[in-house]
C-alpha cells in the first residue's frame, strides 16, 4: 500500500508568501526547527508575480495544527494561510514513472496507462516512462498497479490544491494576491 493518499493526520495548507529570496528556507527552517513533519511540499508562482503559493501537506501527529499555522503565520513573508478541507477542495498531483515494459508486458502497461487516462512520455527498448496527473488517491492506485511490472524510477510532485467552488459560483479561494488579506488566521507580530 502506498503511503500517499488521504490520511486523517494529513492536512493541506496553502500558504501565500511574498516572492522574495529565502522564503522557502524560512518555511522549511521553521518546520525543522520546531519539529513539525512535512509530508509533501510544492511551491509555484501564483497568478501575481509578487507572491508564490506553497502547498504543504503537514503531518499533525508531530504538533497540533493550530500551533503549526500560528507559527507559520509569524513569518513576516507569509501573507495568508488557508487550511484546505479535503472534502471541500480539489487536490491534484503529478506522477512520473519509468516502468519495466519488455515485449511480453508492454501491452499491459500501455493498457493500464490508458485506463487511468495517463500518458506515455518516453519509450525505450524495454522500458516506458509514463505520466499521470490526478487526485492523490488515484495516483496511489496507479502506483500500486504498475509496481507489479517493476518501477525503475518514480517521482511524485506533491500536492497542489484549491478550494472547491460553491454552488452559487462564489469564489471560496484564498485571498486574491492583489489584495492580500489573511483569511484563516489573524496575522500577528
Amino acid at each position: 500500500m502506498s503511503v500517499y493518499g488521504t490520511d486523517k493526520r494529513h492536512h493541506t495548507l496553502t500558504v501565500l508568501v511574498e516572492n522574495k529570496s529565502g522564503v522557502l528556507a524560512r518555511v522549511a527552517g521553521l518546520f525543522s526547527r520546531r519539529g513539525y513533519n512535512i509530508f509533501s511540499l510544492a511551491v509555484a508562482p501564483s497568478d501575481n508575480e509578487r507572491f508564490s503559493r506553497i502547498t504543504i501537506v503537514v503531518d499533525v501527529e508531530s504538533s497540533p495544527l493550530e500551533q503549526i499555522i500560528k507559527q507559520l503565520d509569524k513569518l513576516i513573508p507569509v501573507v495568508s494561510i488557508t487550511e484546505l478541507d479535503p472534502e471541500r477542495s480539489r487536490e491534484r498531483e503529478l506522477l512520473l514513472a519509468t516502468v519495466e515494459a519488455a515485449a511480453d508486458t508492454r501491452g499491459q502497461v500501455i493498457q493500464l496507462v490508458g485506463v487511468f487516462e495517463g500518458k506515455i512520455v518516453d519509450v525505450g527498448p524495454d522500458r516506458l516512462t509514463v505520466m499521470l496527473a490526478g487526485a492523490p488517491t488515484k495516483l496511489d492506485d496507479f502506483e500500486d498497479l504498475i509496481r507489479a511490472y517493476g518501477i525503475v524510477e518514480m517521482q511524485r510532485s506533491g500536492r497542489v490544491a484549491l478550494p472547491m467552488l460553491d454552488r452559487s459560483g462564489e469564489h471560496l479561494a484564498p485571498p486574491r494576491p492583489e489584495s492580500p488579506v489573511a483569511l484563516t488566521t489573524e496575522k500577528a507580530g
Partner: protein, 607 residues
C-alpha cells in the same frame, strides 16, 4: 539627492532617532563606518561583538527603544549570534546591521563570508539581505517597525560591501513605502472574551495574576497595578517581569518558578484561576507541566497568538497587547460594578509610572488592604505561607563565610531604590532576583529565556548608556564575569561608570549545586579558583577601580566607596561562600508541589 548606500544607511538610522549604536568595524562594513564620523549618532566601540549585542539589549530593556548594533561580516556577524538568540528569547527589540561580502562574491566562500541571514533565520523576528541600494531606506524603516511592534524582537540587516559603496537616489520612506503585506501586529483584545475573562476573575476564589515580561514590553505596569488593586488579586512576577509590579506592594507575591519563593510557587499550584498576562508558561515557571496548577482555569493574554494554548490550554485566550487588554478589562470591571478605587490611577497614591522615574509604590493602599470578601480566606492562606516559608539564609557574624544574600541585601539597602540591576546567569542571578526589592519597572535587566552567561557586564554598560541618570549595578558570577569582562575596557574608555559586584564563589556555582544535589556530590569541571584571575588586578588593568571584600565588615564600606565613584567603572570582588545553595528549588522535571525549601525551615517537622 544622491548618497552612497552607506550614507543612506546611516541617514536612515538617524531618521529612526537612533542616538547610540554599539559595534566594531571590519572589511565588509568599512564603507558604512566612514559616514559615522559625520553622524549625530554616538558609536561605542566594543572589544568583542557579543558585547555590542548585549549592550544594545541592555539599552533597549531600560529605555524601551530599540538597541542598535553594527558589526562586520563573517566572524563579526557570528560573534553577535548569541545576543540575537538572547533577544529573540526575551523579546527585546534590536536592529543589528552586519556587513557582507560583495554581492558578486556571495556564495563563493569568499574571505569572511558567512550566511548570516541563514544562520539567524531561526533567532530573529525577521532578517533582510539588501541587494539593491535603493532598498536601504525602506528596509531600515521596515526593520525598525518589525522590531518594535507586535511582540518585539531582534532583526538583522545584511549589507553587502558593494551595495554600501554604490550611489543611490535618496528618498524618505513613508508609511506607504513599507512593503510588509504579511505583517499586521495585533493591538486590542476581543471585547467578548475580555468580558468573559472579567466575569471569571470576579467569580474566582483563589485567583493569581501571573505577570510576565509582556507587561513590561507593553508598558503596562500601571494598568496591571490598577487591575490588581481593584480586584484584590495577588500578583506573581516572573524573572522577566521583576519590577512590573512593586515588590513592596502587599499584593505582590514575588517570583514564581524553579527558584521562586514558596508562596508564589504554591499560590499558583493551588490557584483556581491563573490570569497569565504577557507570560508564556515557561518550563522554569511551570515545573512538570502536567502537574502544574491542576485546579486552575486559565485566562491567557498575549500579543503573540502562537503563545496561546502552546503549553497549557487556556479557558479564555485573548490575543492582544497586554496594556490595552488590561485597560479593556478595567472598563469591563466598571461595567460589572467594580469601579476605580481611590488608591489607584488618578488617585493620590502615586503608582509607579512606566517612566522609570515615576513615584515609588505606596505600600498598603486602601484597595489592597481591603480584599474583596470572597478573597479573604485566600489572602489569609497566602499570608500564612509567607510567614511559614520566608526566604532565609544564615550569615554567621565575624569570620564566617560571606553569604551572597548578605551582600545583596547590603547592596540593595545602600543604593537608590530605582537602581538598575543587571545580572549574569547562575546562582547569583537567582539570589539577585530573590533578594533585591524591585519597586520600579525597567530596573531589572537579565537574560531569562536563553540564560546567557556573560550577559551582565555588557548589558549593564548598555543600560547605563540608555539611563546615564541612574545608578547601574551588575551582579555577576565569577564564571560569567570571565566571559565578557573585556567590555569594561569599553566602559572605561567611553567613561561609562557602571559598577560590578562579582559574587565570587570560585565555582560555576549553579552547576555545582546541581552536581551536589542530583549527581551525588560528584563535582565535574565546576571549580574555578577564587584568585585566578586576580580580579582586582584585572579590573585595574582595564581602567576600573578594583576592590576586594572578604568579610561582612568590609561589605558596607566597599559599597559606599563604589557608590561614590562616578568617573569610571568599579569592580568589587566579593569572596562569597562556595557552598551556599539557592533555595527554594523545584528540581528540573519535578512538580511544583515538590518544592524544596531551605532545610532550616523544615527542621523538626519531617518535611
Amino acid at each position: 539627492m544622491e548618497l552612497t548606500g552607506a550614507q543612506a544607511l546611516i541617514k536612515s538610522l538617524e531618521m529612526q532617532q537612533v542616538e547610540v549604536m554599539f559595534g566594531l568595524p571590519g572589511g565588509a562594513i568599512l564603507p558604512v563606518y566612514d559616514p559615522i564620523i559625520d553622524s549625530s549618532i554616538r558609536h561605542i566601540l566594543v572589544r568583542h561583538e557579543q558585547g555590542a549585542g548585549h549592550m544594545a539589549e541592555g539599552y533597549a530593556q531600560v529605555t524601551g527603544r530599540p538597541g542598535v548594533a553594527m558589526v562586520t561580516s563573517g566572524p563579526g556577524a557570528t560573534n553577535i549570534v548569541t545576543p540575537l538568540a538572547d533577544a529573540y528569547m526575551d523579546s527585546i527589540p534590536l536592529v543589528v546591521v552586519t556587513g557582507q561580502v560583495a554581492t558578486s562574491a556571495i556564495g563563493t566562500d569568499a574571505f569572511q563570508e558567512s550566511d548570516i541571514t541563514g544562520i539567524t533565520m531561526g533567532i530573529t523576528k525577521h532578517n533582510w539581505l539588501i541587494t539593491d541600494g535603493a532598498d536601504i531606506p525602506r528596509v531600515v524603516a521596515e526593520a525598525f517597525h518589525v522590531a518594535t511592534t507586535g511582540r518585539p524582537g531582534p532583526v538583522l540587516i545584511d549589507v553587502p560591501k558593494d551595495v554600501a559603496i554604490k550611489p543611490m537616489e535618496w528618498y524618505h520612506p513613508g508609511p506607504s513605502d513599507l512593503d510588509l503585506p504579511g505583517y499586521h501586529p495585533l493591538t486590542e483584545g476581543d471585547p467578548v472574551l475580555v468580558r468573559q475573562a472579567v466575569e471569571m476573575l470576579l467569580a474566582a476564589e483563589r485567583p493569581v495574576i501571573y505577570a510576565g515580561g509582556g507587561i513590561l514590553k507593553a508598558r503596562g505596569a500601571e494598568a496591571l497595578r490598577e487591575l490588581a488593586e481593584r480586584t484584590g488579586i495577588p500578583v506573581v512576577t516572573t524573572l522577566m517581569a521583576r519590577g512590573c509590579f512593586p515588590d513592596s506592594h502587599p499584593l505582590c507575591l514575588g517570583m514564581p518558578g524553579m527558584h521562586g519563593n514558596y508562596t508564589a510557587v504554591t499560590a499558583m499550584q493551588r490557584s483556581d484561576l491563573l490570569i497569565a498576562l504577557g507570560s508564556r508558561f515557561d518550563d522554569r515557571v511551570t515545573g512538570r507541566i502536567d502537574a502544574f496548577a491542576p485546579e486552575a482555569k486559565i485566562i491567557h493574554v498575549d500579543i503573540d497568538p502562537a503563545e496561546l494554548h502552546k503549553v497549557r490550554h487556556a479557558d479564555v485566550a485573548i490575543a492582544g497587547d497586554c496594556r490595552l487588554v488590561i485597560d479593556e478589562m478595567l472598563v469591563a470591571l466598571a461595567d460589572l460594578g467594580l469601579p476605580h478605587s481611590d488608591a489607584t490611577r488618578g488617585g493620590s497614591g502615586g503608582a509607579p509610572s512606566d517612566a522609570v522615574s515615576g513615584a515609588p509604590a505606596t505600600a498598603g493602599s486602601v484597595a489592597a488592604s481591603h480584599p474583596r470578601e470572597r478573597l479573604i480566606p485566600w489572602r489569609a492562606q497566602l499570608s500564612q505561607w509567607q510567614g511559614r516559608f520566608p526566604l532565609v539564609y544564615d550569615q554567621q557574624p565575624g569570620s564566617g563565610a560571606l553569604k551572597p544574600q548578605f551582600v545583596l541585601e547590603a547592596l540593595r539597602d545602600a543604593t537608590p531604590d530605582d537602581t538598575i540591576v543587571a545580572s549574569g546567569v547562575g546562582q547569583h542571578q537567582m539570589f539577585a532576583s530573590q533578594w533585591w526589592q524591585f519597586d520600579y519597572p525597567y530596573t531589572w535587566v537579565n537574560s531569562g529565556g536563553l540564560g546567557t552567561m556573560g550577559f551582565a557586564v555588557p548589558a549593564a554598560i548598555g543600560a547605563k548608556v540608555g539611563r546615564p541618570d541612574k545608578m547601574v549595578w551588575a551582579v555577576d558570577g565569577d564564571g560569567c564575569f570571565q566571559m565578557t569582562a573585556q567590555e569594561l575596557v569599553t566602559a572605561s574608555s567611553e567613561r561609562i561608570p557602571v559598577k560590578i559586584a562579582i559574587l565570587n564563589n570560585a565555582y560555576l556555582g549553579m552547576v555545582r549545586q546541581w552536581q551536589e544535589m542530583f549527581y551525588e556530590e560528584r563535582y565535574s569541571e565546576v571549580y574555578l579558583s577564587p584568585d585566578l584571575p586576580d580580579y582586582v588586578g584585572w579590573a585595574e588593568a582595564m581602567g576600573c577601580v578594583g576592590i576586594r571584600v572578604d568579610s561582612t565588615e568590609e561589605v558596607a564600606s566597599a559599597i559606599d566607596k563604589a557608590n561614590d565613584i562616578d568617573d569610571r567603572p568599579v569592580v568589587i570582588d566579593f569572596r562569597t561562600d562556595a557552598f551556599e545553595k539557592v533555595f527554594p528549588m523545584v528540581a528540573a522535571g519535578a512538580s511544583n508541589d515538590d518544592i524544596i525549601v531551605d532545610p532550616s525551615l523544615t527542621e523538626g517537622d519531617g518535611r
